[in-house]
Symmetry: C2
Subunit: 380 residues, 2 copies
């Protein structure tokens, strides 16, 4: 059976990226590799829309988040973390680990923090040294208005703006410099269409100054952003990088460059809209009030049991989607369209859902979902 | 842009088959390779449903046809060839080359030879030494009733039954032994889901006797079936085989064995039916009166120009289908569902046709085609 992945990381890897990583390994101190890393560094700036360094760490996205927190903050620092889902919660855990506390603001799942509420928080805590935000919260398929949130922070305080862009970069419009972001992290297995293994972190001048000034007191080593930034200035890495992944990243970044980042963003927005239209046409309700363009969370319809639906998708149709997490396990599921997906893929996933729903006896007009997808792209 | 192939050879190659062929090369006189070839020989018997040898030649399907003709017939032999399309025509060319003449029966494109008409031909030519048939004529997407045709030949004459099974094997029910076939050829890049480069030929006992008795007067060398049969008896090949392709074939045959040949045939029949339903729902007329399960030929609708339609498919949607050939160039086109295709792929191809038709201004209710495909598989 053909297998098709619709999960928000790992995401499908294009054939040319896979092939580039299958080439014989080269040494990371070899000039050939330095040239690749230099090009990767350049293209990462384009991806994040910044003139500032974007470092490549050989770790997961969580490793990237820890790298930022451990390199910037110290015991006793006041940091605000917005928790609107599992990954926002992770910000809080990391902040508590490295500062001893956290101003954690909880937002109901499926909703995004309002800029007005953030303004209140900043006024309550004028001494906050940083605010940790999530651009696209993967667990809830919900996008926050990072541009507006960052503007509020810059207006109200000197706190650094840290953005978890792990499932947003490549899917949502993002301007690191213009929006005044200080830290933004993504992972390779997301919008970058790569296998897992790399975290990419953009670092503003303000953040660099803080990191470099506090380097000696940092409680990290492998994840040190100070070390990574120093090596970056010579287009190098402080430790042995995941060489074949960097080579694949080079290939993936070339693809994004060729598509053009604005087109990449627009594609994700349009795939997400078609996916929502297909789900709605099948009588399913959408979970998020501010839907992400990377992943669409959907309520399971009345009477549809998650295990049966998922089994029908996986074992009869070769399709993997993501389950709901925590309190929403068995209540919602999540369809990813992040990375290497096109419009025909939306037809495939909605068509596969029709097949699975039919198999488990859910009542709907066969073809309604795929027709809605076609109409979303083509009109009537 | 994602590329998706819907052509009747090459056909898409499964990932595990591609990976098996990317492994380091081994030597063809190595016991490891002999073991692979032995398993390939066994599984080819299963594919053709025969206890007779099926030899592996490193050449295209046409090379396989020439191998059969040049190994069996001699100058002056009378051979009947049925020409109902480009590949039937090729039988005639080969027969003329090796015998000096040919009893060629032409059948209008899109139709199959009737067993009754073949009976007449055999009565007119009781001294015919062979009859060359095409199971699925790729140029016209038309299937012949090989079982009935072979029965007529066996009843009426001693002529050998030669079947071009190049796009039929794997797609259409076929029983080499039970149906009394003497020669059947397929190519690797068809139902076998492989890249091009191998021809597979099943040879009956009767045909083996003729080939061996006439070996000394054969005007061939590399394509000698006599040499191939001798080597086959020791699970060997007479000349250096395309080693990596044989390794891939081993993998592909395992997949067919795992699916079960009856299931493989049924899958093709059902994909073809859904494809026809999708085309019809879009207002397109079917070309063949006896449609192949490997490839569906469709009339271009009134006012739809082939070049514009094909460009919209290829350059806007990454889809490759096959054009009409000869007199039907620009009038019909052909959609393949031969080999590594599943039901969701039919949704993709019909969805892509809707997209291309919409782009070039053809009028139809968006979603009608994909709905027909879903209904073909799921009911209403």
């Amino acid at each position: 059976m053909k297998k098709r992945l619709f999960t928000p990381g790992p995401t499908p890897v294009p054939e040319n990226v896979m092939l580039s990583m299958a080439a014989p390994i080269i040494h990371h101190r070899n000039p050939e590799f330095m040239e690749i890393l230099q090009r990767v560094h350049e293209n990462l700036k384009y991806l994040f829309q910044t003139t500032q360094p974007v470092v490549v760490l050989s770790c997961s996205g969580t490793g990237g988040m820890e790298s930022a927190i451990s390199s910037i903050f110290r015991e006793g620092d006041k940091v605000i973390a917005i928790n609107a889902g599992k990954f926002g919660e992770r910000w809080g855990e990391l902040v508590r680990l490295y500062t001893g506390g956290c101003i954690e603001e909880t937002v109901p799942w499926g909703r995004a923090i309002e800029p007005g509420r953030l303004k209140e928080l900043l006024r309550e805590h004028p001494d906050a040294k940083g605010v940790c935000l999530t651009h696209s919260e993967t667990s809830t398929g919900t996008a926050a208005d990072i541009r507006a949130l960052s503007a509020v922070i810059r207006e109200e305080s000197d706190a650094l703006v840290l953005v978890d862009g792990i499932t947003a970069i490549g899917a949502h419009e993002f301007h690191f410099d213009d929006w005044g972001i200080d830290i933004c992290i993504t992972g390779s297995q997301k919008g970058l269409m790569m296998p897992p293994g790399l975290a990419l972190i953009a670092v503003s001048e303000r953040a660099q100054d803080v990191i470099n000034a506090a380097e000696d007191s940092a409680k990290n080593f492998y994840l040190s952003l100070a070390k990574a930034l120093k090596a970056h200035s010579g287009d190098d890495t402080p430790f042995t990088p995941a060489v074949s992944l960097v080579i694949g990243l080079d290939e993936a970044l070339k693809m994004i460059r060729q598509e053009g980042i604005e087109t990449t963003w627009a594609r994700h927005e349009s795939l997400a809209a078609a996916c929502r239209a297909g789900c709605t046409a099948l009588g399913m309700e959408l979970f998020s009030t501010s839907p992400s363009f990377a992943v669409t969370p959907v309520w399971l319809p009345e009477g549809v049991e998650w295990n049966a639906f998922n089994k029908a998708l996986k074992y009869s149709n070769g399709i993997t989607v993501a389950a709901g997490q925590d309190d929403y396990k068995g209540k919602i599921f999540r369809i990813s369209h992040l990375g290497y997906y096109d419009e025909l893929d939306m037809l495939t996933i909605v068509g596969a859902m029709e097949r699975a729903l039919k198999e488990i006896g859910y009542c709907f007009p066969v073809g309604a979902g795929v027709t809605a997808v076609q109409q979303a792209f083509l009109g009537r």
